[in-house]
């Protein structure tokens, strides 16, 4: 099992990477906006921006990942969304980050497993926030579809990020 490399990056490198990661994350958000999935349930989307989160989770320290995540969600909410969308996205991202960090530290799953857990808990957190706002538990009828979409998208995103992260770890000179 590969230990986490390069946790002590130089400060300037981190600043440059933060800029790159946040902007690529915003572009992923725009891609998701261009490709709407034809399911009529709020919250089903390709989690392409999770590729960014996983990349920084496996290459940088967790505080850096958290800051990049929060900034990306806020900026993406300002650019493409309304207030409600930002609130749901923020809560989903928060919970999914905590889950992904704990699972990664526990060292149980590979990158794909971490991504699946992150995707599923993102959807569950959005459902819980919606239930709180409407004060009804009847919304949990959406749970199977959200779990399924979290699973499939988490799988796809996990495979893509594993390819990218392995490439970055194997070649010398990148990062």
């Amino acid at each position: 099992m590969k230990t986490t490399q390069n946790m002590m990056q130089s400060h300037n490198k981190k600043i440059a990477y933060a800029g790159i990661l946040i902007s690529v994350g915003l572009i992923m958000g725009y891609l998701e906006f261009l490709i709407p999935l034809p399911v009529g349930i709020p919250g089903v989307k390709l989690g392409l921006s999770n590729i960014i989160t996983l990349f920084s989770l496996y290459n940088f320290d967790p505080l850096f990942t958290f800051v990049v995540l929060i900034l990306r969600v806020l900026l993406s909410g300002l650019l493409f969304g309304n207030l409600f969308g930002t609130l749901y996205g923020l809560s989903g991202a928060f919970i999914s980050f905590i889950v992904m960090y704990l699972v990664k530290r526990g060292n149980i799953f590979s990158i794909v497993g971490v991504s699946i857990m992150g995707g599923i808990f993102h959807n569950i957190a959005q459902l819980i926030v919606a239930c709180i706002l409407i004060s009804q538990i009847k919304l949990s009828i959406y749970l199977p579809v959200l779990l399924l979409s979290g699973l499939i998208c988490g799988l796809a995103v996990g495979i893509i990020s594993q390819i990218i992260i392995n490439r970055f770890h194997n070649e010398k000179g990148l990062l």
Partner: protein
């Protein structure tokens, strides 16, 4: 030509990678089981002879029987925000004033414990079974 070469090298690299470890496959199987179980629970709640309840902002707005064809307009502060159509034993959202209109695209509901919600307008349509209705109205 160069694109074909890089694609070829990428496929070689992907072949050498191990993708799903044993724990990952375990996790996926468990999650699929949970999904199937939830679907079975949902389809076991019967198609009811119940009442359609509409909640606006967590307060009961109106109810009607699911077998009476009906069109209900929902107003908040005298502004028309949603239209609910009850027809043929199904309830659906016909019109919504929210920007993304996700509630209109949602499937019709007929089973008890199903719901259609419009989150920006805080409107919720549910179907309640006549046997286990404990409350007449829920207000906050």
């Amino acid at each position: 030509m160069f694109a074909c070469y890089t694609l070829y090298k990428l496929c070689l690299e992907i072949d050498t990678m191990k993708f799903l470890s044993r724990n990952d496959r375990f996790l996926i199987i468990i999650i699929i089981f949970i999904i199937i179980a939830l679907y079975l629970i949902r389809f076991c709640s019967s198609k009811t002879d119940g009442t359609v309840e509409i909640y606006v902002n967590n307060e009961l707005y109106t109810t009607c029987n699911i077998n009476n064809d009906n069109v209900i307009d929902i107003y908040i502060d005298d502004v028309l925000v949603n239209i609910v159509k009850v027809k043929n034993g199904y309830a659906s959202m016909e019109y919504a004033s929210c920007p993304d209109r996700l509630c209109v695209k949602q499937a019709k509901i007929c089973y008890s414990n199903e719901a259609i919600c419009c989150l920006p307008n805080k409107v919720l349509i549910t179907v309640k079974n006549e046997d286990n209705s404990e409350y007449d109205a829920i207000t906050q």
